[in-house]
Symmetry: C2
Amino acid sequence: MQKAVVLVSGGIDSTVLLFSLPRQDYALHALAFRYGQRHQRELECAQRQCDTAGVQNVKCVSMPFLGELLQEGSTLMETGGPVPDLDDIPQALRDQPPTYVPHRNMLFLSIAAAYAESIGAARVFYGAQAQDEYGYWDCTPVFLERINALLSLNRRRAVTVEAPLLRNSKADNVKLGLALGVDFSMTWSCYRGEMLACGRCPTCVERLNAFKQAGLPDPLPYQ
Amino acid sequence: MQKAVVLVSGGIDSTVLLFSLPRQDYALHALAFRYGQRHQRELECAQRQCDTAGVQNVKCVSMPFLGELLQEGSTLMETGGPVPDLDDIPQALRDQPPTYVPHRNMLFLSIAAAYAESIGAARVFYGAQAQDEYGYWDCTPVFLERINALLSLNRRRAVTVEAPLLRNSKADNVKLGLALGVDFSMTWSCYRGEMLACGRCPTCVERLNAFKQAGLPDPLPYQ
């Protein structure tokens, strides 16, 4: 069985990805990241989902330096300004909104690729999906293509990044997750990370719409 | 004056790079990395060179997680095996030798690009030179080209990586550094990081050859 690395964030997409990977083919090594985000709730969900999926190798990479480096930061980070409601983000900013974290996925995937190379895994899976493309250049098919062009230069053990859900909408992922038996009550999306999900930040709105489109109730309680 | 980020390691190449950048054009922000290397001596040199160059913005990024992730590691890291003498590295391994750190430059440059984007700098400079190409895929012209192809996807503030010394040999850098008044006694190359440079590890051999080719004495004492 070949080793593979999978990025987990505790959200819908990476959780569905985790459960969709054929377990008979891969010995999975999960990586989560503490990059200065406002709350740890999503990381608790990531750990729980890995436990449920029977993934024993789970590492959480702590990057306290990122909050200091990204002074202007991102509203997703403790060092950034408040998270805006989706409705309050002007259209002109939505191609790279205030919730964008500079180079986050490139950084995560660089670390994941280094880890993969070190343990002898040929693949890194991450949960990019089609809907995030609107605002995040690091969730697009061309990003995937170019990061793989870069990684392919490795002379010994080239690692490939794969995003099997890249053409899915979030609603597609909800439906797929349901078919796979994913417990969505143990996923977290809200950027604000309060006791209850806010229902108004960009990712809450997207999550609620995805469940609506999939014709399913979201098991999370909202404010 | 525009901001720019420059990677510094305390070695010959990045020090010459630091002094070669036109100070009338750039407000420099230097980044060094504590990535689990065997010793801090090179970082002390990096700091001293920044002081001499009048660069006030110097940050050192600590990545203690890397040693844990890279279990097989690299002989450059505390977690890796002993540093080999150059003569003991078989030819067949020299295109990616035991001193290679998986994805190190991609990781450093991802962080540097994130930092640059955050502070509004359009350029990241790093000290890759032609001689390292033999063993390190992340010091090649095609690496530079492809990482820039990736970074260019940024929709707001694309950052460009530049390696002005990419076509230089290490001897060229020694000569250039001499012309720029670089104090090479305050640079460090030896991978072993003992009290005196060993003179036998790959980077010591390259350094000694570079000074020899440049017709200059290396001011560092050796064992």
